[in-house]
Amino acid sequence: MANANVKPLEVVFWLATLLPFVVTPNYLSLASQIAITALFALSLDLILGYAGIVSLGHAAFFGVGAYTAGLIAKHYWTEPLSGLLAAGVASGVLGYALSHIVVRFRHLALIMLTLGLGLLVHEAANSASALTGGADGLQGFRVPAVVGFKFDLYGTTAYAYALAVLFSCFLISRRIIHSPFGLALRGIRENATRMPAIGAPSRAHLRKVYTIAAVMAGIAGALLTHTTSTVSLETLSFGRSADVLVILILGGAGRLYGGIVGAIIYMVARDQFSGINPQYWYFWIGLLLVAVVMFLPNGILGGLAKFSRPRS
């Protein structure tokens, strides 16, 4: 039974996430964007790692969350925490609506459907440029601070805010995984044909987890809006959906920490490689991906787990 109690390694990991405040104060804005991407990858892990839904359009929810937060800050109020909730609700509603289509498909048809739906949302945002500002992005709003702490150049508040939200969403995800619902999701992933035979409403489960993942992805999008006071079509782009999928596979899907570890390694590598070699960094990132697949099948955590203690 996947024991629910906290392993010491987990405590060490989360304490380590506080190190950047002291050890690398100049990298806090990067750290905040890693935390946001980690949350986005975690939301994808819920549906990919735990329910077997491969999505190439997950950025649709990230972007809807980002735009909702941006529009609220522009037209209504700039208090971020309530903006976060509103963004979660907005992307959750979209997630619930799309889940009715998504759960009816599998394999390549599912992947291409999520891709198509993602691109449609992207085009909608582009053509509704009066509302969304089109390709130039949403202009004329600024989120000054969160609970009194100002967002500044150093990104200290941004990282603290992103990390706090990531940690709370992680706790929720951990609770989901170790709950009966989590067990049902793993059942669907392990053997989708057996589930109806034990009376399980698989589609209802999948719709619920897809909605929860959409809420979390929307919150991640809103975090980006609040910490950078910018929203652009890029938050809805195919590139962002592909990146987060690569990040999750790199880290190792279905292990809760896969998305977070993947985000850290992928974004730090990209930042360093593009710093050294701004034109051709793609080469080194590509090499990293190929190396991980060759030597660490099932991602970094999957590979490490195989080496450290062969799965009992």
Binding site: Q33, N126, A135, D136, T230
Partner: protein
């Protein structure tokens, strides 16, 4: 619990700041460009312009050595552009922010320039409101309304055209160009008979060109981004066989850029465009610039390159006036009203709007010595950005 975090952070930040400030004698420029992804070529050509300037004018000015730190945003990504700009200010202690090929990236970095009080030089992003994002920002590339509204007015007056059908790419700059051209054209008595917008990722234009051909308006106006699209449009024109003496084709400078002309071939003959630069401009400064550029990079400069070249010139001139002092207030004051002769012709920085003021050339594609060239046959001197002027009137 929260306060301890922040106390630790502030302590660390102070520690970092106490590091010895980088050697007094250097001026650091943080250059944020799109060096990878779909707009990599624009970023590279801009960078090549900068390198050419520094080769011609050396890498030190007013007794200070110029050091450039390059960062890649990988495409339109305002969150990444803002973070990179913040890191350049906070971590690399740059004195000047420069580059910015795309509008969303320039807008996001404008906030950093304003908040961190850093002199900022936009070397390409062409949307008008970019300049309003920071009081310490100047622009040395081009402003869309500056060219397109002028072109619209010219087309309906000296161009002798009464009808026009506009075809633009469906994204920020496309919408701006469409609005500007139509304002100028209608303002001067012309009528817009229709308009269409291409999807951004549009590999094939034949349907649109066919539609325009069927409508057979007196003239067509086109605005598309650089890269693969001008070539694809050129081929669609070649295949559709638009009859150029019946339908006048007007376009932005990018429509008949060097690569586009190469693939369009003779069907491009007669296309009229308006732009602020072409590598074939025959003045001494430009010939020297093109020769040096080609020697260094094995290809001809384009309008991205001239944006970078003049951006560096503006930085050098400003530093000379402030004698190497990189304080943003001093630099912006020195930069306002700057005037100089550039390979593109006489240009300057508008003292109030801090935006670029330059000549707008009206050119026609002709064959010169067996080669297709944008031959300028008219020029509208020292044009200010009309949208900027309107903003000034609203404010006062």
């Amino acid at each position: 619990m929260k306060t301890t975090w922040l106390a630790a952070a502030l302590g660390a930040a102070a520690l970092a700041a106490a590091l010895p400030l980088h050697a007094q004698g250097t001026v650091r420029i943080g250059l944020v460009l799109t060096l990878s992804g779909q707009f990599a070529d624009a970023g590279n050509q801009l960078d090549n312009g900068i390198k050419t300037y520094m080769k011609q004018h050396g890498d030190s000015v007013a007794g200070k050595k110029i050091e450039i730190i390059r960062k890649d945003t990988g495409g339109p990504a305002p969150d990444v552009a803002k973070r990179l700009s913040q890191e350049l200010v906070v971590r690399d202690k740059v004195d000047i922010l420069a580059g910015y090929v795309l509008t969303p990236n320039a807008m996001a970095a404008g906030d950093v320039s304003a908040e961190a009080k850093k002199f900022m030089v936009v070397m390409n992003a062409a949307t008008s409101i970019v300049i309003t994002k920071s009081p310490y920002m100047i622009r040395t590339s081009v402003v869309l309304p500056q060219v397109m509204e002028t072109f619209g007015t010219w087309a309906a007056t000296k161009g002798g055209l009464k009808q026009n059908y506009t075809m633009v790419t469906d994204y920020g700059p496309g919408h701006d160009a469409e609005a500007a051209f139509q304002t100028g054209f209608k303002g001067a008595g012309g009528t817009i008979v229709g308009s269409v917008r291409f999807p951004v990722a549009n590999p094939d234009f034949s349907a649109f060109v066919q539609r325009a051909k069927d409508l057979a308006p007196q003239s067509i106006y086109i605005f598309i981004p650089g890269g693969a699209q001008p070539a694809a449009l050129g081929k669609a024109f070649a295949e559709r066989g638009i009859d150029l003496n019946k339908t006048k084709v007007l376009g932005s400078g990018e429509t008949t850029a060097e690569a586009a002309l190469k693939s369009m071939g003779d069907t491009a003959l007669g296309i009229i465009t308006a732009w602020h630069y072409d590598y074939k401009l025959d003045n001494k400064l430009n010939q020297a610039f093109v020769k040096e550029f080609y020697a260094m990079h094995g290809r001809n400069p384009d309008f991205f390159s001239i944006g970078g070249y003049d951006g560096m010139h503006a930085i050098y001139e400003t530093l000379k006036k402030t004698k190497g002092n990189t304080d943003a207030e001093a630099m912006i004051a020195a930069a306002k009203g700057l005037k100089w002769d550039s390979p593109r012709g006489p240009m300057g920085i508008d003292p109030e709007t801090r935006d670029v003021v330059q000549d707008v050339y009206i050119r026609r594609v002709q064959k010169v010595g067996g080669e297709l060239v944008n031959v300028p046959f008219d020029r509208v001197p020292q044009v200010k950005d009309p949208a900027g002027e309107r903003r000034k009137k609203q404010k006062s």
